[in-house]
Structure formats: structure tokens, C-alpha cells
């Protein structure tokens, strides 16, 4: 014990001499928090989203939904270290894309730093975002897409759609230069995934029997558990996007929780008054809607704004999935567009309104005297939606050509994909 104390004193004396403690050096508090955050965001895909979506898909397609989520995570994990990270975070090429300097993560050593954390941790943290973004797209097309087509689509989409947009916003690309505020992924993750899902579902067409036969969720209990895991993981997503264990991370943490709770209540009460039942699916969906909407705003807005953003997201999400979808007539199976696309857009706009320089000096919104910010947000929303809509459409047709069609056979679709694709059943219920 005494020897330990002497050692500690000796280390403290040596501190000012150590290069690791220079202003931009490694900070062990930040590093520890970012490793935890990365693990939290990781959990959101194969646990949170898989159960959230799996529970909403029909009993005969539950395992197929889980398999597609897992495989999206695994493929993106590999793509990211091979070329994804370099395309998103390599040295900027014309504001459009990252250079190829970090292919295979070359040149990145355990000593390399990004800010105050190891570059390896930063790369892995960013990877978990790429993983969940492509997995979110899945919500629009469960119950009917070929497994092989999903695999090919995932590889192409992460490479050609996700990495450029991530570069524009977080990799010192043109949106960052323009001053667009997207704290943790309103445009990069949610608008991107929502619009891509909408495009994919429009090309794939409706499920057999859509609008005519009942399509019951396999288990609302799994969906509720998935929503809770997403909520838990989202603290890493938003508070982790500070890339530091600091006051802004704490503020993002607080507003994330507040918005999720307010949105869940707003969705529940809206549904209760409109369709007369406060459903568990509605509460769980509201949680996700609130988390989505606060994502771009998390590190910029105060707690008052987060309540307003949450309430608006709960109402908008309910309106999107219960009214807008049926009016427009597309079959977005699990509402990737209705929840992520719509509430992501709401959040990106709200950031332009409510960004408070007292919370974060990096962002000032319209209500704090910077009307230009709203315009910048609108441009970033439109550019993201347009790029992902057109790019995804091209990739969908490339995928279709490569895999000989996108859709499972009619008989397999009716029999269910758990049995016909995977040879398994999710439940043994006879």
C-alpha cells in the first residue's frame, strides 16, 4: 500500500513531462466513455432494432427480420474497416468524399488519436452508426425481400450512400463547411435511412394481401423490449456524439431521455383519443420517434426545447404511420420512413430553431437570433433526401440485376420466410 502511494506521487510529479497529457493528448475519461458509448450503440442494432422490428413483423418472418438485422451489422462491420471508414473520414476530397488513405485502417496505430480518444475507438464508434443506419432501412421491406438481395444492397448502400453523407456532415465535407447542425445523425442516419426505405419499398411493391388481410405483429412484447434497448443504447448514440465525457455530453444525455419520454406520452394520448386505445405498440413507437427527433438537436438544445421536440415527434409519428401512409398507399412495413424519415426531418428543422449558444457555442438557431441556421438546415435536409433517393434508386436496380430480382417467390412469401429461407421457426406454437 505504501509502495503504491509512493508510485502514485512519482507518477503525478512526472505528469507535466508526459507528452500524453499535452492539450490535445489522450484523455482517459473521454476514452473510457467513448468505449462504453460504442458498446451501447452496438447493442442498438442486433438487440434493440432486431427485437423492435422482429416483434412487429409477422410470426412467420420474425427470424428473417432478425437475420437481416444481424447480417447488416456484420457486413457493415467488415466493410467499415476495409474501406468505409476511409471513404467517410479520410482526408477530404472536394467536400464530397474522404480519400483512400485509411483503406484497411492503414496508418492507424494504437497511439493514433482523434481529438482526445484513440482513432481506433473513434472509427469503431462511427462504425456502429453506419451499421444501424443500413439496418433501419430494413423496416420498410420486411416480409418480402430476398435475403441475397438484402446482402448485396447492404454492401452497395453503405459504400455509396452512407459514407458520402457521413463525410459531408461529420468528415469535414461541404455540409459541415456550410454550418449544418446534425449532432448525432438526424440527416446522416434517420432521414437517410427513412428515405432509402421508402424508395426500396416503392420498388419492391406491397406485400401480398396488404390492406386486405390482417397482418398481426408477432410479439408486441419483443417490440417493447427492443424499444427499451434502443432507448438505453441511444444514450451512447447522443451523449457519445460529444466524443468526450463533458458537460455537453451530459446535456445531450438529459435532453435525449426527456424527448423520448415526452414523445411516448404524446403518441399514447393522441392514439388514445383518436382510436380509443392506448396501445403498447404506440408507446414503444413514441419512444423511438422522440429519440429520432432529438438526435440532431441533442448537443445543441436545452431541456425546454427537448420537451417540445418530443411532443411534436410523438404527434407527427402517429400521424405519419396512421394517416399519411394509408393516404399515400405505400407499404412501408414497419414505418422506417414514417418514424425515422419524418421525425428525423422534424428534429433537423427543430435544431435550426432551438439551437441555444448557452448550451453549445457551436450552434445558434433562429430563436436565438440566427435565422440563417434554419435555411442551412433545410438545405441539408433536402440535399440528403435527394441524394439518398436518387442514389438508392440506382443501387436498388443494380441489386435487382445482380441477384435476379429483389422479391421472394409468391409461395415463399405466403408460407413465410423463417421456414422457406432459414429452415427454422421462431416459436413452436401448435
Amino acid at each position: 500500500m505504501k509502495r503504491f502511494r509512493i508510485l502514485t506521487v512519482a507518477m503525478l510529479l512526472a505528469l507535466p513531462l508526459s507528452p500524453a497529457w499535452a492539450a490535445d493528448g489522450l484523455n482517459s475519461g473521454d476514452t473510457a466513455w467513448m468505449i462504453v458509448s460504442t458498446a451501447l450503440v452496438m447493442m442498438m442494432t442486433p438487440a434493440g432494432l432486431a427485437l423492435f422490428y422482429g416483434g412487429m413483423s409477422r410470426y412467420k418472418n420474425l427470424l428473417n427480420t432478425l437475420a437481416m438485422t444481424f447480417v447488416a451489422y456484420c457486413l457493415t462491420s467488415v466493410i467499415w474497416v476495409l474501406w468505409g471508414y476511409s471513404l467517410a473520414f479520410g482526408p477530404d476530397v472536394g467536400g464530397i468524399i474522404g480519400g483512400l488513405d485509411f483503406l484497411f485502417l492503414s496508418g492507424i496505430t494504437p497511439a493514433s488519436l482523434e481529438g482526445t480518444i484513440p482513432t481506433n475507438v473513434f472509427a469503431l464508434f462511427q462504425m456502429t452508426f453506419a451499421c444501424i443506419t443500413v439496418a433501419l432501412v430494413l423496416g420498410s421491406i420486411v416480409d418480402r425481400m430476398k435475403f441475397a438481395s438484402w446482402i448485396v444492397f447492404t454492401v452497395l448502400w453503405v459504400t455509396f450512400i452512407y459514407t458520402p453523407i457521413a463525410h459531408w456532415v461529420w468528415g469535414k465535407g461541404w455540409m459541415a463547411t456550410m454550418g449544418a447542425l446534425d449532432y448525432a445523425g438526424g440527416t446522416v442516419v434517420h432521414i437517410n435511412a427513412g428515405v432509402a426505405g421508402l424508395v426500396l419499398s416503392l420498388v419492391l411493391g406491397k406485400r401480398i394481401g396488404y390492406g386486405k388481410e390482417a397482418m398481426f405483429p408477432s410479439s408486441i412484447a419483443l417490440t417493447a423490449l427492443g424499444a427499451a434497448l434502443l432507448w438505453f443504447g441511444w444514450f451512447g448514440f447522443n451523449a457519445g456524439s460529444a466524443l468526450a465525457a463533458d458537460g455537453i455530453a451530459g446535456s445531450a444525455f438529459l435532453v435525449t431521455n426527456t424527448s423520448a419520454a415526452a414523445a411516448a406520452l404524446a403518441w399514447m394520448f393522441t392514439e388514445w383519443s383518436v382510436t380509443k386505445k392506448p396501445t403498447v405498440l404506440g408507446i414503444a413507437s413514441g419512444v423511438v420517434a422522440g429519440l429520432v427527433a432529438i438526435t440532431p438537436a441533442a448537443g445543441f438544445v436545452g431541456v425546454g426545447a427537448s420537451i417540445g421536440i418530443g411532443i411534436a415527434a410523438g404527434g407527427l409519428g402517429f400521424f405519419s404511420v396512421s394517416t399519411l401512409k394509408h393516404k399515400l398507399g405505400y407499404d412501408d412495413s414497419l414505418d422506417a420512413f414514417g418514424v425515422h424519415g419524418m421525425c428525423g426531418t422534424l428534429g433537423a428543422l427543430a435544431t435550426g430553431l432551438f439551437a441555444d449558444p448557452a448550451v453549445n457555442a457551436a450552434g445558434t438557431g433562429l430563436f436565438f437570433g440566427n435565422p440563417k441556421q434554419l435555411l442551412v438546415q433545410i438545405i441539408s435536409i433536402l440535399a440528403t433526401a435527394a441524394f439518398t433517393a436518387i442514389g438508392t434508386l440506382v443501387l436498388v436496380y443494380v441489386t435487382k440485376a445482380l441477384t435476379g430480382g429483389l422479391r421472394v417467390g409468391e409461395e415463399n412469401e405466403i408460407m413465410g420466410l423463417d421456414g422457406t429461407v432459414h429452415g427454422e421457426r421462431a416459436f413452436d406454437l401448435e
Binding site: F216, T275, K277, T279, G282, V321, S322
Partner: protein, 113 residues
């Protein structure tokens, strides 16, 4: 003369009906979980605004075979004990039974039930 009484009732009323019939000395019955619909129609479930109508509602079917002289008493007891006053309380049918045989002893007719 034997008669069979088939009663379709609300599942949660089964215990009340069984107790009521025990009180008047009815010693046996067969119970089946069934699904169906009548004037009550189905019910709606709404998932994210998508309405699905569930046509078939779970019900319980009771089958009781008694002497023809007791039919009225049994039917009245079932009606009283299964009654809620709301649509969907069920129906009672009375059928002729040609013969009854107790498997263990071979007794027939009223002795078998």
C-alpha cells in the same frame, strides 16, 4: 327420452354456469373452446393505425345430456348464469339424443348419463 343441451357462452362465464348447474345436481358436462361469431361480429385491433378485424371470437361450448323432463330447468339455469345483458352472451340449442351408452358398464339410456 334424452335431450342434449348445447350452450355457447362467454368464456369468463363458464365457472358461474358450472356452479349453477352443480346446484341443481347436473353431474357432468363436456366443455370445448370454440371460436365463432354471431350478431356481436368480430372486434377490431389497431396497430399503428392499421385496423384488423378479428372475425372469430373465442367462446366456450358446453354439452350436457339430460332427461327430457329437466331440459327447461337446465336451460333456465344456464340462461341466468351466463347472462350479462350485453351482445354476445351466446346461444342455447336443444337436440334429440337417440341413444346413450356408458362405456365402462354398458348401461344405456337415462342410466348412462
Amino acid at each position: 327420452m334424452l335431450k342434449k343441451i348445447e350452450a355457447i357462452i362467454k368464456p369468463f362465464k363458464l365457472d358461474d354456469v358450472k356452479e349453477a348447474l352443480n346446484e341443481i345436481g347436473i353431474q357432468g358436462m363436456t366443455v370445448t373452446e370454440v371460436k365463432g361469431y354471431g350478431r356481436q361480429k368480430g372486434h377490431k385491433e389497431v396497430y399503428r393505425g392499421a385496423e384488423y378485424v378479428v372475425d372469430f371470437i373465442p367462446k366456450i361450448k358446453l354439452e350436457i345430456v339430460v332427461d327430457a323432463g329437466r331440459v327447461e330447468q337446465v336451460v333456465t339455469k344456464i340462461r341466468e348464469s351466463a347472462y350479462t345483458g350485453k351482445i354476445g352472451d351466446g346461444k342455447i340449442f336443444v337436440l334429440e339424443v337417440e341413444q346413450a351408452v356408458r362405456v365402462r358398464t354398458g348401461e344405456t339410456g337415462i342410466d348412462a348419463v
